[in-house]
Symmetry: none
Subunit: 216 residues, 4 copies
């Protein structure tokens, strides 16, 4: 590997600033986290989107949330075929090794992955349909749900609904993992579905009984 470069100077400066303040103030806690291991209370599955900051929203400090971030916060169904499944690996580690108590799927507004899925389903994104499009193939996980929102005339509302279906799809797929179903039944693990509005700072949770998202 001869292509890696040193970090840009402004990031080095910011790091040294954090080291002298944020780190210094929390040193004892960071050392404890290093020696004692992590004991996160929850796993959060959110999107890679730069506008989603789960630690900010929940005032979380180092050590609280085990966080997996991928495109559109999607979890594939249980598929123990010996191939590499990064999301399933993260879920397995959180649930079986770390024994988190909560598993939170956090969707969000203005999701580029979901928008791409809609474009693809409407025949407007041939590049995403190509076999070699990793984004397209990843969004195939959500594709079956497009039918449910296909008739919504308002494009913004259609996307918002599909973003929420992405959360529900992940929750459904999580339940196909046998060791998740067992722990949920045993009261050792709770699943939560959330959707946040980036511009307005809103937060909704999936209400199972009413089968819709409601403000927290």
């Amino acid at each position: 590997m001869d292509n890696a470069k040193p970090l840009p100077n402004y990031l080095v400066q910011r790091y040294h600033g954090w080291k002298a303040t944020g780190y210094a103030e929390n040193q004892s806690w960071y050392r404890r986290l290093a020696s004692d291991g992590q004991h996160p209370r929850a796993m959060v599955i959110s999107c890679c989107d730069s506008r989603v900051h789960v630690t900010s929203i929940f005032g979380a400090d180092q050590g609280e949330f085990f966080i997996h971030r991928n495109i559109a916060n999607l979890v594939p169904p249980y598929q123990p075929d010996g191939a590499q499944h990064g999301t399933s690996a993260a879920v397995e580690y959180a649930v079986r090794a770390l024994k988190v108590a909560h598993l939170i799927v956090l969707g969000h507004s203005n999701c580029g992955g979901v928008q791409g899925c809609i474009n693809m389903c409407q025949g407007k994104a041939p590049d995403l349909d190509a076999k070699d499009s990793f984004v397209g193939r990843w969004m195939d996980l959500l594709r079956p749900k497009y039918e449910v929102v296909a008739d919504i005339a308002d494009a913004d509302e259609q996307q918002r609904q599909l973003e929420k279906h992405a959360v529900m799809t992940s929750l459904e797929n999580l339940m196909t993992f046998p060791w998740i179903g067992e722990k949920v039944s045993a009261g050792e693990l709770t699943l939560h579905g959330l959707w946040t509005d980036i511009g307005e700072g809103g937060l909704e949770y999936y209400n199972t009984e009413k089968e819709l998202f409601m403000p927290v």
Copy 2:
């Protein structure tokens, strides 16, 4: 899906606290991010580990970093086989759709995934060797590098070295993506390898010429 539960109250309270402070202070910026879209300067690939906070270390706000987090910050090699590759999808979206300028792989000390890989390679973790272990199969990506560190007697040092090899492996695999190599050659994308010490707050970068990690 009838298993999702409302959010625990303490998280609801924290969210409302953020809404009244962090969100209120930045409302105009969040609205701009929602209406104008994200323009992150960098993608960061880090571990799900709850002790790694890339935004803290670099004083980053919403909108700066597109963040993918998986077990042991591993990137698989380019494999456009039509199957689901969540990490490759995230990289594709960042590089091709968002056109990020920097691609940062951030490894860390005390990495449970790397430790599992060592255990597996030393025959101490039969469960990870099982075909249905998602973590084990994911860590297969790093397995070939175990040979390089197999002779290191000190267990801590051995793990630290393999953690750094995880970063190097990801950098190498990133270069197998044709559109990454092209952009790196064209000076439109820069790769960076970092490793952080959780307990001490240290930060090292991969120095290509010396082929080792050095403090920033």
Copy 3:
């Protein structure tokens, strides 16, 4: 124009140093900024004073802050009379074309412009009172506030207070621009008043409720 000279050699050398380091490290980002345009999150209005470095204080990189610098960080009131108003033009471009989310006025200690205003108000600076003094006429913007500090006996304290009034005056005048008031009301733009102590590195913000500057 036959009076321009080549750059002094030491500046040429420093430039080449930056080209080989700072530029080289960030080439991909600079190219992206050139091709993709700027998307700054904030406009900063600060003084021309060589001792004020807003990018250092906030660890900001190229692309983050749209910066206007003039004498004493003053903004004149809205005056759409068809004449040239450089500060108003900068504010218009930032708010209407770039749609920045934050508008920060940054005052500072030891401000020569503010000191000149005091001298002028105390009848000690006839040259600044002359019609052809651009500095004097510019500082007329702050002149009405001298009355508020006229009775402060300690000269240093008097100047410090007038420096802070310069920030408040700019904030007040900014609100006279109709498209600023609208955006502030709509939650699309936030105003901030800051004052920095050059020698001590202090930073204070204007607290609206208490009507005074407080340490951040």
Copy 4:
């Protein structure tokens, strides 16, 4: 003024980081700058554009450059009419009060102000032509030079040439200030015209004899 808000938290954190590192390392110099006053060697007039960082390009520290930034780095002609001229005030303070030795006008590529001027001259920007457009009226300073570049077919080249004319216009207008002409004649002040390419990090200076810009 009841509209100013506290600074967003990430900027507060970054500031504290700078205070603990950048400030701490330079405290004695900052204190000296505060007690001894500024003695900048040069005044730089550059654009507000967030992508232009004159201190980075020239490795300049606090105290070296007195910096005025406005839209398109334009200096209006000498006009001592008693009205507010912010740019002229900054120039007056630098030349007459601080007695800088160099006066550098720094233009740049991808300049939104210059592009707006071209659009306006081509009848494509009626909003900029309106009397109440501060940007439009400010760019009137450059308008007469559009004729010189009007016949350039390539739009990028046309803009680049007008960006350089913005620098030359400012140099010409600076010479209309009587106390600048005197100091230049007396060898006490030198003018310099520069233009930087944001994407490529290039730097050109205005060569008076050849009447064109050349790489430094």
